[in-house]
Symmetry: C2
Subunit: 240 residues, 2 copies
């Protein structure tokens, strides 16, 4: 039997795979900064901010510090970046507004419609390193109709730690092979496959803009290779 | 200011408040039993089963046993009930089918439409002692569009333990007074109010059938007293 037929739940990586963090942050903060008289190269700030993402989470994964919400890790990185981008004298309200831009990210054009279709047959959930509140606020903001919120916060760990993939399958009452990890990142899928999950890939070649060095294409024989989430729905459900 | 205006998230009790467990179980198992040649007073079994609910959870709340999923507690109670209802020689597949009837409960007539309306303005989530998989399967079965799944399983506790109400507010990044517990059970609301949450009540006077002894009306001055979930939406959003 086609192993894809056993899949009951689709878990989605979010940052970059479902939402376009780089352009969303640049658009949101430019419009807000122009009103507040704060000027910066917001697109470059978004890329610089994201470059702190893996190192900050690694402090948690390595055991160097206890589990810490992504909102907090984002704020710590932002404190470092503000002077680098000549943003001085920012109030704590302004800092909070900037930090919460990660709660206000727009989906890629195919994401919402693809997910709506997939939801008719599968349980769909984010399996993201974003904290529960971040992912919930983003879903309300972006109109993404997740069935449930599987932030890795629930597991006190960060992807690609195995307890995130295995914990998600377990709380759903499913075996790993009944769950498919869906992402635009080969390393996320490799970690999920090592835990026994099925895998689906599509590229987001503009995710990192000029910083993008990888994930232009599938690097393993993932169970599904799609062009985007709408195509993933076509492949799993048939074309509309 | 009206304290209700600060509310950002509505947490719903599920069994009895959103879904009609008694009649759903009776309908589902009668139709299935008639096909399989298994006959019993399924409505009476549903009521007897529910009478085990609080005592079984109390074993966990008291610390007598570690946190145990509601699916497991349901199965233990079912094992006691089968001989009482003259159901002998049941296969393990049949037993599993019966036990998972709690994943296949129908909403009350006003629930789905009321929740759809409320979702347009509030985060809506179950705060239920049902485990994550149970609540997810039920939502898919019943067409309930929760934003996220706040099973008390995530908190390793059972309502009315305070860590369930406070844990839900915390993961949402909200203060207790920004969260409203919504239920057809006065004791659930009393526990939520003691934690600082807002409260909304509506009665489900036929929930327990002939066993119903309470919750025919509001027993405190809850922040909202409604006739059902559709009326709750009218009171919070205005009439359609």
């Amino acid at each position: 039997m086609d192993p894809k037929k056993q899949v009951r739940a689709l878990l989605f990586d979010v940052f970059g795979s479902v939402v376009d963090w780089r352009n969303s942050i640049a658009r949101d903060l430019k419009a807000w900064g122009d009103r507040d008289g704060l000027h910066a190269d917001w697109e470059a700030l978004a890329r610089a901010w994201r470059s702190h993402y893996q190192p900050k989470m690694q402090e948690v994964r390595s055991g160097k510090r206890p589990f810490t919400l992504l909102d907090t890790l984002h704020l710590e990185a932002l404190e470092v970046l503000l002077p680098e981008f000549n943003l001085h004298g920012i109030s704590s309200e302004q800092k909070d507004h900037i930090n919460r831009v990660w709660h206000r990210l727009d989906p890629w054009p195919d994401s919402v419609s693809g997910l709506v279709r997939l939801k008719s047959r599968y349980t769909i959930a984010p399996l993201s390193n974003g904290n529960v509140a971040l992912l919930n606020n983003m879903a309300k903001y972006a109109g993404i109709a997740w069935d449930l919120n599987l932030s890795t916060q629930w597991f006190g760990a960060y992807k690609p730690q195995p307890q995130t993939y295995l914990g998600a399958a377990e709380v759903l009452g499913l075996e790993p092979h009944e769950v498919m990890m869906c992402a635009a990142h080969n390393d996320d899928l490799a970690a999920a496959r090592a835990c026994g999950l099925r895998t689906a890939f599509w590229p987001r070649p503009t995710e990192y803009g000029q910083d993008q060095t990888k994930d232009f294409q599938a690097e393993q024989d993932w169970d599904i290779v799609a062009t985007d989430i709408r195509d993933l729905a076509d492949q799993l459900l048939g074309k509309v």
